[in-house]
């Protein structure tokens, strides 16, 4: 009826970041993670944050949405902060409340962990927000293909991931439809204790599994009918190509690394 399928969390707009080669984006995300861990001084999170903000702006992603990607992590972030704050030990005492002592090292640690978590989550979500999952697996396949020498089934893994991802929206839609149909028959998915709720899932799960198996059978047949026989000798419609844009992205990342490493070198 309408294209309201959210594939993963892909945010479909056109931007320079969206158009980067997926392999480049995966490698950049990897480098970015290393970069975050290179920070030793709290102030050095500032350039990382600026880099992130720039990437978000270039990718035309709304900033509130980036903040929203942190929502599932908020409990973890608060916990790591509190645990590091209260359970660290060190040499310089900051505050004493009865038997609880807060050390300067504990506070620093807590801040480091919090910043790292926030920057890692938002940073890696740029990758998934700007890359459609199928393109992402394509990139992964190409990056992993050298591993074929050690018999790593790169193509098969990527095909499995692609199919799984392809069916997430289909099955979500199907689940939604079945849930509505059963709700119309008076099924109740929302109230009751754990056992009652688990039992209430049966009218949803049985039809969902049946339809998943039917679709899997149909898909296998359709793939065979088009002579699919694994990755051997298969050519591609969209051949990935590194472009100038990717080079610029890598140069910007190199710039970030220089800024992050400079204090250590100058010392």
């Amino acid at each position: 009826m309408l294209r309201d399928i959210t594939l993963g969390q892909y945010y479909p707009v056109d931007s320079p970041v969206h158009r980067l080669d997926p392999r480049a984006k995966i490698l950049l995300a990897f480098l970015y993670i290393i970069g975050v861990f290179l920070v030793k001084d709290l102030f050095m999170y500032l350039p990382v944050l600026l880099y992130l903000a720039m990437a978000t702006w270039l990718a035309r992603l709304p900033f509130p949405m980036m903040a929203k990607s942190l929502k599932p992590m908020r409990i973890l972030i608060v916990f790591t902060f509190i645990l590091n704050l209260f359970f660290g030990t060190g040499s310089r005492e900051l505050l004493r409340l009865g038997s609880i002592v807060i050390w300067e090292e504990g506070l620093l640690n807590a801040l480091h962990f919090t910043f790292r978590l926030i920057l890692l989550v938002t940073g890696s979500s740029i990758l998934t927000l700007t890359t459609p999952p199928v393109t992402l697996t394509d990139g992964l396949e190409r990056l992993a293909s050298p591993l074929r020498v050690i018999r790593f089934p790169a193509h098969e893994m990527a095909m499995m991931m692609t199919i799984a991802l392809r069916f997430i929206p289909t099955l979500t839609e199907e689940a939604d439809k079945i849930m509505k149909a059963q709700t119309a028959r008076g099924a109740d998915f929302e109230t009751g204790n754990l056992m009652a709720r688990a039992r209430a899932m049966i009218p949803l799960l049985v039809p969902l599994f049946i339809s998943a198996f039917r679709r899997a059978g149909d898909l296998a047949m359709a793939m065979e009918a088009r002579c699919y026989r694994g990755g051997e000798g298969r050519t591609r419609l969209h051949v990935l190509k590194f472009s100038r844009r990717d080079l610029i992205a890598f140069l910007s990342m190199a710039g970030l690394f220089i800024i992050l490493l400079l204090p250590g070198i100058l010392k």
Partner: protein, 286 residues
């Protein structure tokens, strides 16, 4: 129990996209009516259907049942769902129980009825849709033929004895025989007093059954009237990508060829008129 839709609008949101599925729809569904809802794919028919029993909540506007807002604070949506039965597209995809009996009993059981009452309702519902109780009730729903599965799923909704029955393309994918069976069931239910809302692309089905036709285009209600009134605006319907019944088309073609037949929706009616014409005025053609 009339259903009144007042300025009903619904907006689907996803990421950067919003789409208006319904725009300010005003529609009253009267008791005992058989209302056909037609429109191009994506015109908002299914969205509208899901508002009738509170599965979707309007972005703005109201759905009134017996004068009461079904999304109001003090109305129980669950109780309401027992009064408005909704049969989705391909309802056989919702079958899940071990036996046909248990599957049909699912709705009545959720209503909290007693065992004897459930049993009586399952038997009654199976009789309405023409499934033999002794032969089929103990079988797995997944062993049935496509048409039988569809009818079992329909029975699952009928067993709840809804006052209003909403059917979303009930004949899609059925062979002609199974389709005729199902339409006959619907007609019988309507004659017995159930209000029916029928969503369909098959204009011949609409012509056969409907007492009133409403047309949706891009979420807005653009026509509402008797089948003859609506289908006589066939040019406008054609522009929306909608068909007219065969009887209607044939009547137009015959008139172009000089036969003074009137507009008819049903081939049967047209054939009768044509036969009278030929018998009565044998000199006319010459």
């Amino acid at each position: 129990m009339p259903i009144v839709l007042e300025k009903l609008s619904h907006v689907y949101k996803s990421g950067p996209h919003t789409s208006h599925a319904l725009r300010d729809v005003d529609l009253t569904i009267n008791d005992g009516e058989l209302l056909a809802l037609i429109g191009h794919t994506g015109s908002g028919k299914s969205t509208l259907a899901q508002h009738l029993n509170g599965l979707l909540q309007p972005t703005s506007g109201h759905v009134l049942l017996d004068g009461q807002d079904i999304n109001g604070k003090d109305s129980s949506r669950r109780a309401l769902r027992f009064r408005v039965g909704l049969v989705f597209q391909y309802p056989e995809h919702q079958l899940f129980e071990e036996t046909v009996y248990k599957d049909i009993a699912f709705g009545p059981k959720n209503m909290g009825l007693k065992e004897e009452e459930i049993d009586a309702r399952v038997r009654e519902a199976m009789a309405i849709v023409g499934l033999d109780f002794s032969e089929i009730s103990k079988r797995s729903p997944f062993e049935l033929s496509g048409g039988q599965m569809r009818r079992a799923a329909l029975a699952g909704v009928l067993a709840m004895k809804p006052q209003v029955l909403v059917l979303d393309e009930p004949t899609a994918g059925l062979d002609p025989r199974a389709r005729d069976f199902l339409l006959e069931d619907v007609r019988r239910l309507n004659r017995a007093g159930t209000t029916v809302v029928l969503i369909s692309h098959a204009m011949d089905d609409v012509a056969k059954l409907a007492t009133r036709v409403a047309v949706l285009e891009k979420g807005a209600l653009v026509m509402d009237g008797s089948p003859l009134e609506v289908f006589s605006r066939h040019e406008r319907l054609g522009a929306m990508g909608l068909d007219v019944p065969q009887g209607f088309r044939l009547a137009r073609l015959l008139r172009e060829k000089g036969f003074p037949v009137s507009d008819r929706c049903l081939l049967e009616d047209l054939a009768g008129e044509l036969a009278d014409l030929i018998k009565g005025g044998s000199g006319h053609a010459a």
